[in-house]
Amino acid sequence: MKLDSRHAIWGLYLLSALLVIFSVSIILYQYVAALGSWSAVLAAMGEFRVLSALELSITSSIAATGLAILLGVPLAYLLATRDFAYKLLLETLVIDVPQTFPPIAEGIILLLMLGPSSPLGINLAYTFAALVLAKLFIAGPFIVSFVARRFRDIRRSGMSLTARSLGADPFQVFTTIYLPLSWHEIAAGSAMCWSRAMGELGGSLLFAGVIAGQTETIPTFVSVSATSFAIPALAATLLGTTASTLALLSFKRLMPKE
């Protein structure tokens, strides 16, 4: 029997609906679970450990995002505007690999490289700096990839060549053409970076440790308390995921429509 294409399109809608239901139900179920014991969850949200974990999550993610902008935008410019040997390898290592890195492996490597037995003689283990570096490694690539894509479009448009022909040197082209035309991508990349940093676990857990009030973040608090303190873990999860979702939604609203 020949399938009518007008009906076949509903098959595509059905398949997409399955993925939407799967993803959204996981995100929403935390609120459903909290509804059963909302007063206990609300009380847990006011606990010192949860609040300090939230504060550390937010501040270390802001610091990691700031560092990612400072270092990632120049790297995006380099990748988008220069052709050089092993560029593909560099892009893969700096953008793609960190996003697919096994979380615990990241923590172990950072601990070996910058921990008590660091061959570099630098010990950052169990500090706020460790939190920031762990988050930067995992979340920084979002800024590089978002901004590099925009910079490539600008390069292809030929505007940078026109600017050069008018007398602008490469740095002037960067500051007067590339940067002002990429604010939205830098903002969107920062929102993604910050949200990803909020959820980073492996590096924080092993490299920064789980010291309440000093290095404990929402994800590490949840990972160590999920079995014994289910309500505070749920409260912390709600706070972390809600903050990330609101940040992403805000930036998406701010982005211009295509």
Partner: protein, 245 residues
Amino acid sequence: MALHVRNLTAGYGGAPVLKQCSFSISDGETLVLMGPSGCGKTTLLHCLSGVLTPYSGIMSLDGRELSKLPMEARRIGLLPQDYGLFPHMSVSENVEYGLMVHGLPPSERSKVSAQMLKLVNLPGLGPRSITELSGGQRQRVGLARALAVRPGLLLLDEPLSNIDQITKDEVAHNLRRVFEKISVPKIVVTHGLFDALVLADRLAVMLDGRIVQLDTPQRVLAKPANELVRKLVRRPNAQEILRSR
């Protein structure tokens, strides 16, 4: 002569696309490079503007060897096919861009910008956004911007290709009138005979990376160098277009 090009050979890493090209242009003159796609005319523009380093040959503008200079030091005004206007800047900011990066104070910049916009018949359009302009207006803003830095040479890549057929005749003749007012030598690249006949003081017909004929449009029409050139310049109303200039 303002620009001398001698035995210029260039390509993109492989076999040369541009082969032993030689020509000169004097101040105020408009040379139109015409030929089919892939004949090397854009490669020639890329060499002059600094996008591409030629394999060999000489490009001398007012006595300065261009290949030794970085793009920003060549004093070449470039009008790309899509005019390359900066969408985040107003019309006057676009026109003033070259002056701004050269460090001119704002008062001088706005004076020059007003002069240039008047030259291209767009007075008072300075505060407008680029997105509010028609294709012809955008082309003239691009031209005003290129002229504002007082270039030694003006390069125009297919300046009429984004203009619709209804207004093309008027836009082309307006462009010629602006050309007549400026003493800068100009090179226009096009594949259209109409554009070439309206704009050219001299016409260089390019085929397979070489200039096969370089002469006034009248002489190219009257005595094409070979059969391929004859086919390229064959157009029933060619003489009429020349008379309309």
